[in-house]
């Protein structure tokens, strides 16, 4: 059975006919061709598929596209400024070498932005705990933690 879904993604209204079983991540990757949202596992552990849905970071592999009907979604493609300058959190990841292969990076950045919005001045321990649902195999997390601390400071300073 197919069903029509409509939502706002990165500020743009989108809609499509999809199979009912279509996951939000498949809708984003395959229907919208926004391939910055990645799939790294099949058990909702890795967080590579993280998007911001109605203001909260969620794993788009764990909900159906239908469930996001009418939602406001931000994917990694919608994070930088319209003129192409990086968001302070993206810039912090670049400055502090918070990424290597880049595969977990979109999920890390989106989760970090969501976390910092709720916890603007986090300790290292809080940052590490907040990353529980995002796996990285390259960086050993050291520079991701530094990046998020720096990104938090930059966001607080309104950069």
């Amino acid at each position: 059975m197919s069903v029509k879904v409509a939502m706002t993604v990165n500020g743009k209204p989108v809609s499509a006919e999809v199979e009912e079983r279509t996951l939000l991540v498949s809708f984003i990757r395959e229907n919208l061709r926004l391939t910055g949202t990645h799939v790294g596992c099949d058990t909702a552990q890795c967080g590579a598929c993280t998007v911001i849905l109605n203001g909260r970071a969620v794993k788009s592999c764990s909900i159906l596209a239908m469930q996001a009907e009418g939602a406001e979604i931000t994917t990694i493609e919608g994070v930088a400024y319209p003129d192409g300058r990086l968001h302070p959190m993206q810039q912090a990841f670049k400055d502090h070498h918070g990424l290597q292969c880049g595969f977990c990076t979109p999920g890390m950045v989106l989760n970090a932005i969501d976390f910092v919005q709720r916890n603007p001045n986090p300790t290292e321990k809080e940052i590490r705990e907040a990353l529980e649902g995002n796996l990285c195999r390259c960086t050993g997390y050291h520079n991701i933690v530094k990046s998020i601390a720096a990104g938090a400071a930059a966001m607080a300073a309104g950069k």
Binding site: T35, V39, G40, T43, K94, H97, F103, K125
Partner: protein, 781 residues
Amino acid sequence: MNAPLIGARIARKEDYRFLTGAGQYTDDITLPNQSYAVFVRSPHAHARIRAVRTERARRAPGVLAVYTGEDVAAAKLGTLPCGWLITGVDGKPMKEPPYPVLAQDKVRFVGERVAVVVAESAALARDAAELVEVDYEPLPAVVDAAKARAPGAPVIHDLAPDNTCYLWALGDKAAVDAAFARAAHVTRLEFVNNRLVPNAIEPRAANAVYSRAEDSYTLYVANQNPHVERLLMTAFVMGLPEHKVRVVAPDVGGGFGSKIYLYAEDVVVSWAARQLGRPVKWTAERSESYLSDAHGRDHHTVAELALDKDGKFLALRVRTTANLGAYLSTFASAIPTILYATLLAGQYTTPHIHCEVTAVFTNTAPVDAYRGAGRPEATYVVERLVETAARELKMDPAELRRRNFITQFPYQTPVALIYDTGNYHATLDKAQKLADVAGYPERKKSSEAKGRRRGIGYACYIEACGIAPSAVAGSLGARAGLFEAGEVRVHPTGTVTVFTGSHSHGQGHETTFAQVVADRLGIPLENVDIVHGDTGKILFGMGTYGSRSIAVGGTAIMKALDKVIEKGRKIAAHLLEASEADVEYERGVYKVKGTDRQKTFGEIAFAAYVPHNYPHDKLEPGLNENAFYDPTNFTFPAGTYICEVEVDPETGKVTIERWTAVDDFGKVINPMIVEGQVHGGLVQGIGQALTESCRYGADGQLLTGSFLDYCIPRADDVPSFTVDTCETPCTHNPLGVKGCGEAGAIGAPAALMNAITDALGVKDLPMPATAETVWRALRAH
């Protein structure tokens, strides 16, 4: 003028695309008329296939084709080759059972590919795969290497009735036995180096398209060495001419060894693309990665170290049984031999070493190189033994190491390698200082005051990187060369595109290599781009593994740069009306010595492409040079890791309180990137020692088949690190570089287990030292 680029912390050129979702990984590529493949995999570890019934699947909605082992056999597709021939102690070649791309008659591990369904969407292919009925006759399975060698064990391959691939040895057994006979002390350990699953966060993927018009194939694949993939696939499996196959490894989301190999899925989608005349894409689900990516490690070892009364090492005796899994993966045979036994001298002058390796087939996924590949296993043997010996002799473990350090270079080890250079005292000194070893007793007291145990552990590792001199590798059984290729294309206005046979899947080559090029040419970094990962663009390449990229690939680029500069000198001499010998090149400018006459690099490039005033009688137009570089020796990165842990005796939980890593990678091009490589390696090594273990049930079912059951470290499992370097430049490449990609994973497990056993006051503990393992050890003690 330009700031120095070698040694500069430069933010990566590649980051913008990864940070904005513009990376292009294999699964992101969807081609016109795309179709999708799903593999039917064996649920049995060992079974005879009586029949594969595909009729229902073929009739399912959206299905384009279903292929089985019979189909690929009828098409005469070859079996997957092994790239390294090991010759046993009996002088006979290793046993090489055929590894078909789709199972023939029998399956030998859970997850082996039995059939493939191709459909209009991945979901439809998955639905139809459920409808493929395979009639299996289950056979007894064996997963443990020792049990596989026992009489009466199930026979996995007819051509290896004892399930043994080879029995191999290195070193002088008689000399070792004699040294043990006169030893004042012998330290003995028996342990398992636990099986690991590499788990790059990007699962493997392949997308193949066949062009009838060109009679050619293009394969996009998550792979670390596209030319090797192409060579193996065309020449050994599909019987295709190489010039009709283009392999593209686009952005690749981590490899750690697991994406070196030619996998069955890559062959099957390529073949199917031609059968169907449509692009065929397959992307692994994580559960398939666990089942079918090549695993790492899985050694059982008995190791003994003989010492004299002063703590000098007399001899080392090692017996290892290596589990290779059900089939030989691409480089499987070399890992527990050539990349393992040759490293057993470590940083020490141990004069006699003998190592015997028995490699065994079992009903488990194939085992091959995983970050470090043989060297973590060797380091674990040496560094656990040394630390244990120090405790038995009541000596300071650092002091025992110092007494045995190699200090004279070049140094010929008793296990074939010649270390060109090193300074092991320097890395140990610096690590001890940074780790504040002097303050350890106080910290231990304060842990004890809280009711916690505290321990400290060292590992002084060495690795052989920059693989490899092809002739040496060839004499040891390699079936491939191990050089690297690079091409420097100077454009008419003086900007540069460099094509490298190395492949970056997180290492940051687009930045590091650009630093090397811009520094050598004296041009701005932004004028240099690095291209990799496409056999259609790059002249040749052996790819990235064994921490070889900068040492071998970087040197190939340096050689090509030398040619560019030399040709430029000839052009400059002509334009400046000077003799070549009088023209110097420095910081992007050709100058006539002792004069103010000069031409910039850009002017020379322009003259090469607009050759109006040009020495046509001596030179061709254009400025484009390539070079192949075959190293003369391995490189030998080495270092000291010091780890301090606190153990909660109530729960068994281990907390890493401090970690200091001092590595000697020779010259460092970009310290920020190098530190990142160390951090990542350390956490994979910590994962092995603390959280990760691949387990099969006795029936061959994989018990750890997801991120839920197999714990790769989370951010809150690990600490921040103190990382520093010493620089003893490599003596045989122009950059003085050694390689840094694997060090962390090589040294970390031994350092961490040394710390935990120290905290617990036990001689040994199995990896991973989970809370349960530690808790039980505390209660047994």
